[in-house]
Symmetry: D2
Subunit: 313 residues, 4 copies
């Protein structure tokens, strides 16, 4: 596989953004809370970070957006570091699901009751409960610090409008969390766990941050550029495996076929992608397809993957 | 159908209690909260009330127990009085379900999302939200007053141990309620609605109370003995129809076949039964079968029904 | 409850038919096979048979139509006579279901796998397998003879167009039957069982026949007029209990509330109704509501029930 | 990633076989048909084929077993060659499922009804219906010829005992197929389609054959050694993506995490694996874990993957 030539990639990225820009019109921004509803559809940005920490970017790559479901990857990594795979996978499964990301059905129909994987909401909420810390604040602070280290930045803040709005109206996730409490998957306080979950979803990042995190994953847990080992290589592989089997909601299988790169999307329109041993990619495009993935962002990743033949398959 | 001869029925009742007593050994008292777990298995009582308000009783007919799911019948009647069937059945369906009483699956799989009927937990919680009143306290007080009038008693009190215990540990019902909030079936505050629901479940009654309520239903809403019309006849018929199609959890169909009397059971081991145009029956027997119905109580009702040929079919 | 005055009921029936006629316009005739699709929507007929075998009728009461799902009642009765309740209910359950009549979901999700009741297609197919007889022909002939005796007629023939059409295109029922074979609920040959099932569905009757059958059920299994005991009383009660809890597909609960009479509908637009200890009613009205029940036929039964206060609740 | 040194790999393979051999004791051979039940548990074999067609092998690598579900990969490739992805994915989805391989639930609950992917039974049966050919024989012959070309062998024969046994007792698959016919996913004759499906499952191969097929997939559709392009590269990527997201039944996610190699298992105990751009692996070990995958075979692949660092993540 020829390595991408970064001298030319910035031009490539710019031309692909222009090509993919039009797809945004066919999608809709998330509308379940006002803070997301007001985001302009036309934003499209991308950043690529290689294993040396060099970043190439184009479009709205400095636009700030909330992590949303992308945070599930980082919290999983932290829980794995805190407890190891055996303890984590006693609470949450390893299998993809054909059900929607916020589905509650399998919690009732499967025995013993356990979220199928940590990328669906039920699983991610269970993982939040696992993060070490004496209080919700301490747990959350550990998540923030971990994300900052992975993204190599000191500037990750909380969007309190988004947080408050989701905390107030997130009845479905609250239903999932109380069900998990009932079946003893959540051991701590349910409201504390939801607070951590919604806070991590409301952390603000840019494409550059995501690209850097993706590169750390691609680099088996070593910080691109400085080589510090933040996460164990096997935990990074676990994360990338989940990103392939269930990183794009009900569109994960199609994305694996068409793009073939481990990735995790969020309803803010962000996508974190990681090409193993090559580089990380961050994308933002708030207009979503009917599965909740950035419509232009997916197209952009498809162009990038096809051009440089990045599919892992 | 020959009317029961009440002169002899007390002897009958006593002998049947002795016969059915042994079945209690095969069941188990509800154990999900300590307050229920400590109840002795050996209790068995029955009371029958005719349309004149005359009561015949035997066994532990003055034993106090909590209404639990039996309260669903009375709150449904009150909501019907408050809003009429059209408004009530916009929020909750009229159909029996093959799923467990606390199932959440169909709330997700049916569109639009609506509890299938008011006898399953989701439906009963939705009905609590419908009862008129400016506050949770006022709503609950109206329910208590309504139950007192139906039972012709001034002495119905709350078991605060049971209430506190269920309010603290009722995570599954909390999951149902937040799901209902998410799909806009619950319009008020979720915690308020749960408070009302758990309070009505923790109201203490005796078999005599249940027999009197059953007689009021049998009498198309007129108080036995004094003739006051408390509930509209058509609402009583609605309640009795639900008691047949879904009054005994997953055992409703079998009960309809074997006993054939409209009835509603609760996990405390109580059963409210109503033979249309004949009389009401109250039963208590805390040991439950695997479907959550009083094991000796069901047997007792089967004897009574067969002896006097009370099946409505 | 005042007994209907049959001198005047024919006029009543005629006027109600005129009133309910207009509802047919809002429904649609079954269209899944050509033979049913060609039936005129405007047909509406009714017959009432008392326990002496006296029949009053109005409208298209001599119109011939196929039994379809109504046949499930008679085959259940025959299987009960052949094997008794214990053996029958080892193969098929006693509980209503919130799922569609042709649903396959619960066969997979419930353990052990067993159709929830004999009124849904899976249950009825299982019951066909139970009917005594060395061959499919012999089994079917026994069903025909049994229906003839119940309907007090020698003229019940098969609509071979309907039979052939359903046998050719009934892929969904074939799926149910093979699933039942897989879980050992069907013991005989699957294709034989389906042949019996589709044949019984294609038997042609009139409202008069259904009224007579309904009267036999109301009369606890004795032939109206001649007193011959064809079916045991307890089996008739079982049938009437199922007719209430699951006789009108997903509309059974609503029908119990609004009409309150044990009844079984078929997609041909026929309805068999039985008022315990009073009389039988047969209705035909091919235009169906969205649940598959005769739209004008249900309205007609509602008028009849309300006028004479026939609800069993 | 260092390329494996094949001089030493044969020794490696042999030592790993000895290590993994003991795991077979914990599993059970498939028992749903007599022909599979009689297979000895102790068999364990492996073959690795590089992109030049060189094969290294150890253990029972010449043992003959039936393809079973492994055939799903080849028939998918043939259907893609026959019709292209657009036509194929109109009939079958691209998404993994959390349900069992033979589940029928989602065919009813998802609208429009479509098997979630071509690796579950429903999807594979639908794919058989898509293969070009005027008759079932012709379709099947095209599949056999295709498998022979991929495996670079002229000696692939049908195990008629296995075929007859599955054709006679495969009621569950028959249920799936008739359901698919009902929802118009299968367009041809159902029995013909099942015949093709069961025949392809009963084709006999060795580990060497699977290794060669895996190498062809790894080589983007070119025959290892001679370079002939049999399948388009993008179709091979599609197959490998499905092998990761749903190749090992309910254990696909765990396998992706622990082994990280595209693979497809069958209940005969065979596993086809393909390391993109590296080599193909064939494994046989008839004792299965509770998910239906070769218990020793999975362990063997885990050793191989870890030793040479073959995970694609």
């Amino acid at each position: 596989m020829p390595l991408p030539d970064f001298e030319i990639s910035s031009q490539h990225l710019q031309s692909w953004i222009e090509e993919c820009f039009s797809f945004a019109r066919r999608g809709e921004v998330a509308s379940y809370i006002p803070a997301l509803r007001s985001v302009p559809k036309g934003i499209l940005g991308v950043a690529i970070c290689d294993l040396n920490g060099e970043i190439v970017e184009a479009g709205d790559s400095d636009y700030n957006f909330t992590l949303q479901s992308i945070s599930k990857v980082m919290t999983l990594l932290l829980a794995l570091e805190d407890h190891g795979p055996y303890a984590v996978f006693k609470r949450v499964g390893m299998e993809p699901t054909g059900d929607p990301f916020n589905s509650i059905v399998k919690l009732e129909t499967l025995k013993p009751s356990k979220p199928l994987n940590p990328m669906i909401n039920a699983g991610a909420i269970a993982v939040c409960d696992l993060v070490n810390g004496r209080t919700a604040d301490e747990k959350f602070q550990r998540i923030v610090d971990f994300v900052k280290r992975l993204a190599n930045t000191s500037e990750i803040i909380l969007d309190s409008d988004v947080y408050n709005s989701e905390m107030d109206t997130g009845h479905r996730n609250r239903a999932l969390a109380y069900f998990l409490k009932d079946v003893d998957v959540i051991r701590g306080d349910v409201e504390d766990t939801l607070e951590i979950y919604y806070r991590q979803c409301a952390l603000k990042v840019t494409c550059r941050d995501l690209a850097f995190i993706g590169a750390a994953l691609a680099n088996d847990g070593q910080v691109p550029g400085n080589g510090e080992q933040i996460v164990k290589p096997e935990y990074c592989r676990i994360a990338k495996a989940f990103m392939v089997t269930c990183g794009l909601y009900d569109g994960s299988g199609e994305f694996a076929i068409k793009v073939g790169i481990p990735a995790k999307s969020g309803v803010s329109g962000g996508i974190l992608a990681s090409v193993p041993h090559e580089f990380g990619i961050g994308v933002i495009g708030p207009a979503l397809d009917d599965k909740g993935n950035s419509i232009a962002g997916v197209k952009l990743l498809e162009r990038i993957s096809n051009h440089w033949n990045l599919s892992i398959f």
